[in-house]
């Protein structure tokens, strides 16, 4: 498994990524983000006007749970129909809270066992 580099080598030679170049329907588009956003919004509007009311963008919002996707999509149905999560949230968002809970659990263990030994007292010297 490796991550997409947007064909870094081709970009250096002023070419677009190979997938965008090769795509026969020009479904994969590459360009300045603002321009892409504009084009995508216009296309969604067109589709809505044509009665494709399920058309929507996915992964375009930098404010969503994963800070926006590296590539955003125009979908014609709910994301899960395409095998995409409808409301993804990056797991590390909860990490500080996870560490706090783990710390509290560790203290619970320490305190619980300490209480057990305190209650039983020294061996031989039973209450």
């Amino acid at each position: 498994m490796f991550k997409c580099t947007l064909c870094y080598d081709r970009l250096g030679a002023d070419q677009e990524p190979a997938c965008a170049k090769a795509c026969p329907t020009e479904s994969i588009q590459f360009g300045p983000l603002d321009e892409l956003r504009e084009r995508a919004a216009a296309r969604v509007e067109d589709l809505h006007r044509e009665g494709v009311s399920d058309a929507r963008l996915y992964g375009h919002d930098p404010e969503d749970g994963v800070g926006g996707d590296g590539a955003f999509f125009l979908l014609l149905d709910e994301p899960e129909v395409y095998g995409l999560p409808p409301d993804p949230v990056v797991t590390t968002r909860d990490l500080p809270s996870m560490w706090r809970h783990a710390g509290a659990a560790a203290l619970t263990l320490l305190g619980g066992v300490a209480a057990v030994f305190a209650a039983h007292g020294r061996n031989g010297g039973k209450r």
Binding site: E80, P86, L95, A104, A105
Partner: protein, 325 residues
């Protein structure tokens, strides 16, 4: 999951299309039932085994320190040895998961608090030698002051070793683990305390095992409460803890834990055989819990239902006005 074909059935779309008559309304849609997440490539034996052994070692070190401080030397020694053996076993499981021993050393090239695996590697690197020194110096009878210090360090780090593994699992996109991140650490330390109590029941004389019986009760009760709280929070994802392999393991864990802790509390006071049997049941219960949690998580990652439904519920709760979902 064959009945959740892509785009054919959908929720909340009543009457949008006329030909939806024969199909019962599905709760969610997916791409032909294919998983949305890539399930972890973890092996049950490595990872659930690591959870179990780490818990046994960590909680065992706390019990060992308590036993040493309250005049129970044989229980202390037995638990120090058990902690050394189990932390070695958990390091072996970790190395097996990583693939090559050098990779563990590579894990120590950085310290990264945002990576539970990095934190865990450092934790293990500090705790392992302390637990080892505590055991070796106790058995060898040398350097009593260093031995006491090592025991104290192991007892201070042990609870973290037992609980951090919950973060390791919860800091993934796996719904069965992530959604339960609040309860999972308590579940893990409860299970760890029960396992260590069980080990103490097996390995120490009846004259010294009173705290072990109480620790086993405490651990089993804590685990039971945490499991229930977690299942309540998980909603539909809790199914993964009730059904299939994970369900069987969780039920076995509950039965064995109850039998071990109650049997230990009632019978292990006088009867050595009963103590050993109770301790064995407690260890088995803890192992079942860890493998149960592991399999529940894997199941929740493999079925798109457990990814989609909670996220849909979250969306619905957040934006009731938006109806395109």
């Amino acid at each position: 999951m064959g009945d959740h074909k892509g785009g054919k059935e959908r929720k909340g779309r009543k009457g949008r299309r006329g030909e939806q008559l024969m199909v019962p309304e599905a709760e969610f849609t997916s791409y032909y039932g294919k998983p949305i997440l890539n399930p972890p490539t973890w092996q049950a034996r490595d990872i659930a085994g690591y959870f179990f052994l780490g818990g046994l070692a960590g909680a065992g070190s706390v019990l060992a320190a308590g036993a040493a401080l309250t005049g129970r030397p044989r229980m202390a020694r037995a638990l120090k040895i058990s902690s050394l053996v189990s932390v070695s076993g958990s390091a072996a499981a970790l190395v097996h998961d990583l693939g090559r021993p050098e990779r563990f050393a590579n894990m120590l090239r950085v310290f990264k608090p945002t990576s539970p695996m990095s934190v865990g590697s450092w934790l293990l690197a500090a705790y392992g030698p302390a637990a080892g020194a505590a055991a070796v110096l106790d058995v060898g009878g040398r350097l009593p002051r260093t031995g006491r210090a090592a025991t104290a360090v192991a007892a201070a780090l042990g609870p973290v070793v037992a609980s951090y593994t919950a973060v390791l699992a919860a800091d993934t996109a796996v719904p069965g683990w992530h959604e339960g991140y609040r309860e999972l650490p308590y579940l893990f330390v409860g299970s760890a305390a029960a396992a260590a109590g069980g080990m103490a029941l097996i390995a120490s004389p009846v004259a010294e095992n009173a705290p072990a019986r109480s620790a086993a009760l405490f651990g089993t009760a804590l685990e039971g409460v945490a499991v229930r709280a977690m299942e309540r929070r998980l909603g539909v994802v809790a199914e993964t803890y009730r059904e299939g392999t994970a369900g069987r393991l969780m039920r076995a864990a509950e039965a064995l834990g109850a039998a071990g802790s109650l049997g230990g509390a009632l019978l292990a006071r006088r009867n050595r055989t009963a103590a050993v049997l109770s301790g064995t049941a407690l260890l088995a219960a803890s192992a079942c819990t860890r493998f149960g949690v592991f399999h529940a998580g894997m199941r929740s990652a493999e079925d798109p239902k457990y990814t989609v439904v909670p996220q849909r519920e979250r969306l619905a709760a957040r934006e009731p006005r938006q109806t395109q979902g």
